[in-house]
Point group: C2
Chain length 138, copies 2
DNA sequence: GCTTGACCTGGAGTGGGCTCCAAGTCTTAG
DNA sequence: CTAAGACTTGGAGCCCACTCCAGGTCAAGC
């Protein structure tokens, strides 16, 4: 069981020392072991927890939500319904977000293409101005 | 030419009075006309500017970028290259974002579906744990 | 022992886009 | 004229996830 000092962890996980201390401060990481002199010694389960945090974060969960997920992780069998609810909600948000962005992308692509072809006026400005990518006149 | 007080604008555009004052403060809106008593009177061009801001914002432009777009709007013909660059950059960002989110959505959908079928263990937690939705082992 | 670099703490600052507040002024209906 | 409600200002606070700082301590190589 090898203990890592904070600098080694920052290298392995690509997190800043400040971030690690911050996670501990807000309770996302339980208080990490220390040397006699008070310097942090990260244990393997800390690393595993941190990797979990990193992955959950990449999946769009907030630190707050991740705190819950970490609780659930200790007893996944009982927490399954909550976990599924959290994941489903997150999924719905992501889906909405993807749709909005896709719509936006289409509009903007249209405008940029028009701009490339069109010699006079500025279709992009006009597009924002009048929003004619959308059918309702507003 | 009808002048609107701030309350009427908030109703028409669904923006808070604070937001309108904030836009004026940061210069996104030039100083709005006032009554003798000092209360704001919004002119039609202010409203048009605000609508432009709202639409540009929905298209993912930051207030900072919108400030540029508004400058460009005054002389679209000369500014065309800059406008196109701004829009193209924004488009690239959006596209990247859509891809990331789509990937995420797929992963999460998979996990939620697994969770619905699978009686023991928690595929969502395990999925975050081991990230097996992704093929590279990390 | 000394130096150097890694590490510690508590607390303040960042950014983007608002949002809220207090204390005061203006406008308008009755 | 009065009262109520709309509006004014400057400035502080909020959210999130850090990030930076000063001033001090620890660990390790020579």
């Amino acid at each position: 069981m090898k203990l890592l000092r904070i600098g080694e962890v920052t290298q392995q996980l690509q997190l800043s020392a400040d971030t690690l201390r911050y996670y501990e401060k807000i309770g996302l990481l339980p208080r990490v072991a220390r040397t006699e002199g008070g310097q942090r010694l990260f244990e393997p389960q800390d690393l595993s927890r941190l990797r979990f945090i990193q992955r959950a974060q990449k999946m769009g969960f907030s630190l707050d939500e991740i705190a819950h997920l970490l609780d659930f992780r200790a007893a996944p069998q009982q927490a399954k319904p909550q976990i599924r609810r959290l994941a489903t909600e997150k999924l719905a948000l992501i889906e909405q977000h993807v749709q909005d962005l896709t719509h936006l992308r289409n509009e903007l692509t249209l405008l940029v293409n028009l701009c490339t072809q069109n010699a006079d006026g500025c279709p992009i400005i006009e597009g924002i101005e009048g929003k004619e990518g959308d059918t309702r006149a507003s």
